[in-house]
């Protein structure tokens, strides 16, 4: 079978996908099947939290694909995530219809508040789910394609590239903060009611979104692994290790980078689209440079160039974040800062690197 072939030499991936499968059977069962108050009952809050982590994991996988295997450290992948999220958010806004505070059937609340008379042109079509799905792929994809085409063609590499990706997400953040942009400004898009007619607050919908996230993560992982296993994947690693050499044996380095970067941005966009209905809000804060840098650290913590390390890192760091924000809110930034330093100085290969080294020694 195709999946078996993709995972043939990927032990970590086999373990990860088995665990993911277990999680996506067990968690919904324990949530829907057991009454509240039962010792093993998984609350909807926890389920949604896990669903959120899964979307983060997909985002981390997309970053690992370009950073770990292609050597491009993007400090702006949060932008693609947020754009996917905004596309989904726009659909969810349109689904509110006349149930908003102002009861205007044609305009979202924030537009009524700003005294706008009609829907801006770029909001048209977002009342249809299929159109939204296309946009979730297209918007981050096209942005990544144009940006990548400009950057890779003129051979912007290394730190320069990282800094301009950061400039990209920073510029988008400033733009989305503006009310005139028509994306809800500061407050972003929120107060969502339902998706495809299903109530977003109901447990069943939450389970559905959780499963969709798990499925997307599994599919995204397999797609990335398939690319890495192909000759194109070997070319990508070759570019990471010796870009000039790759060029001199006849590969169009720019094109390889461009397509993989674009694919990765699309994955990030899909992750964002799944994230928004689960957390119930999308605002310009998602574009903040800190978010994009933080997600690079998830990958670094887990271990670069492994894919499953990215998943592990995203889950682990975000679990720690949730724990800290509840127990020691002041401590989180200290912990995150320390994590940045520890990982780069002491654990360049992340947790996975540590585990495999242990394994090799015993």
């Amino acid at each position: 079978m195709l999946i078996a072939r993709i995972l043939k030499n990927d032990r970590g991936g086999q373990i990860f996908l088995a665990l993911l499968l277990l999680l996506s059977v067990l968690v919904p069962l324990l949530n829907l099947g057991l009454p509240k108050g039962h010792a093993l009952h998984v609350s909807t809050y926890t389920l949604t939290l896990l669903g959120k982590y899964l979307t983060y994991a997909l985002l981390a996988v997309s970053v690992d694909l370009v950073w770990g295997f292609l050597g491009i450290l993007s400090l702006g992948h949060g932008a693609f995530f947020a754009l996917g999220g905004y596309a989904m958010g726009m659909y969810l806004m349109r689904q509110i219809g006349d149930r908003g505070v102002y009861g205007n059937p044609d305009l979202p609340d924030f537009m009524v508040f700003l005294n706008w008379q009609e829907l801006p042109w770029f909001w048209h079509g977002f009342d249809m789910f299929w159109f939204t799905l296309i946009m979730i792929v297209l918007v981050p994809g096209v942005l990544a394609f144009v940006f990548g085409w400009l950057a890779f063609r003129s051979r912007v590499t290394g730190v320069y590239l990282s800094i301009i990706t950061q400039a990209l997400t920073y510029a988008l953040m400033l733009a989305f903060f503006r009310n005139e942009m028509g994306f809800g400004g500061n407050n972003g898009l929120t107060d969502f009611k339902d998706i495809l007619g299903f109530d977003l607050q109901s447990d069943a919908t939450r389970v559905g979104l959780f499963l969709a996230s798990a499925l997307a993560l599994a599919a995204g992982y397999l797609a990335c692994r398939a690319i890495i296993n192909s000759r194109l994947g070997r070319v990508a690693i070759a570019i990471r290790d010796a870009e000039d050499r790759t060029r001199f044996i006849g590969y169009r380095v720019e094109h390889v980078k461009l397509w993989i970067f674009t694919f990765s941005a699309i994955l990030a966009g899909i992750a964002g689209a799944l994230y928004v209905p689960q957390v119930g809000i999308i605002n310009p804060g998602e574009f903040s440079p800190l978010n994009s840098i933080e997600l690079v650290v998830w990958v670094a913590v887990g271990g670069r160039a492994t894919l499953y390390g990215a998943v592990l890192g995203a889950m682990g760091v975000n679990y720690a974040k949730t724990w800290f924000t509840a127990a020691l809110p002041d401590g989180w930034l200290f912990a995150l800062g320390a994590l940045f330093i520890l990982v780069t100085v002491l654990l360049p290969k992340g947790i996975i690197g540590l585990l495999t080294r242990r394994g090799a020694r015993s």
């Binding site: 690319i227 192909s230 000759r231 194109l232 070997r234 070319v235 690693i237 070759a238 290790d241 010796a242 000039d244 050499r245 790759t246 060029r247 001199f248 044996i249 006849g250 590969y251 169009r252 380095v253 094109h255 390889v256 397509w259």
Partner: protein, 277 residues
């Protein structure tokens, strides 16, 4: 080209627009003059320093040419120009009679049949020896075909053949990063062979090799000439003497002398450059 010239050419009915011309198939380069590479009046400077100064160089088809010269003579910069890494300020560089190398990018030049070995051996350290050769193999190197590429039995045989030629059969599954310096040099030469180029540019192939390895390299390079043209840049004079038929001496970015090893060695200008006053 000035505007008038442009106008004249666009009304000239014999002139065919660039994009309408048929793509030249590399394998039928027009080699009627027996020359595969033309460098004419090439100059390039970095921050006022003239690395290449009015250089003229012609390489014949099937020839094995050695290029020597003191440090800073412009040997590596010359290779950079031929392979598209550096663009010259003036001059023209043609491959065969039809292909203008100055209009092509590095990968285009490579797929047109010019292969290059770097001064510092550069192989893909996190790939196995086998994979290194696979990546270099001649074929469609665009993104989509590369994604879908599979190894045919023929390809495998071809790679195995090359492995034998460069003496690395036993290391086929070893990571390239684990090879010795000399073995890396050989692997890089093997990668060149997989590209099946018409012209090989080889920058310091025997640096860091033992005498035995050197002899084998000499043998390999000589056996390649004939079917392909080989240009070797080397400092090691014994090695040059062992393979050279024709030697070009570069000095301060232009050709100082050209001829057989003996001629060149007895040329007073060369002696002066190498030994000082």
């Amino acid at each position: 080209m000035n505007a008038l010239e442009q106008l004249r050419r666009s009304v000239d009915r014999d002139e065919v627009f660039e994009f309408l011309r048929p793509k030249i198939n590399v394998r039928d380069l027009d080699l009627t003059h027996g020359t595969i590479l033309y460098l004419e009046d090439v100059s390039v400077s970095f921050d006022g320093f003239k690395a290449i100064n009015d250089l003229n160089l012609y390489i014949d088809a099937g020839e094995l040419r050695c290029i020597i010269g003191p440090n800073g003579a412009g040997k590596t910069t010359m290779m950079d120009i031929i392979t598209g890494k550096t663009r010259p300020d003036t001059g023209s560089v043609f491959f065969g009679q039809r292909i203008d190398l100055l209009k092509l990018s590095e990968p285009e030049i490579a797929s047109n049949g010019i292969g290059r070995k770097f001064q510092k051996p550069t192989v893909f350290e996190y790939h196995t020896v086998f994979e290194n050769l696979e990546l270099a193999m001649e074929g469609d190197k665009r993104v989509w075909p590369t994604l879908r590429a599979t190894l045919s039995g023929e390809d495998k045989d071809h790679i195995d053949e090359t492995l034998t030629t460069i003496g690395l059969q036993e290391h086929a599954q070893a990571y390239a990063g684990a090879l010795s310096h000399g073995q890396k040099q050989w692997l890089e030469i093997g990668m060149l062979l997989m590209q099946n180029p018409l012209l090989l540019l080889v920058d310091e192939p025997v640096a860091g090799m033992t005498h035995q390895e050197m002899d084998r390299t000499a043998e390999l390079l000589t056996s390649l000439a004939g079917k392909r043209s080989v240009v070797v840049v080397e400092h090691d004079m014994d090695f040059v003497r062992s393979i050279a038929r024709k030697v070009t001496v570069l000095h301060q970015g232009s050709v100082l002398a050209e001829g057989s090893m003996d001629d060149v060695q007895n040329d007073p200008k060369v002696v002066e450059v190498y030994l000082g006053e």
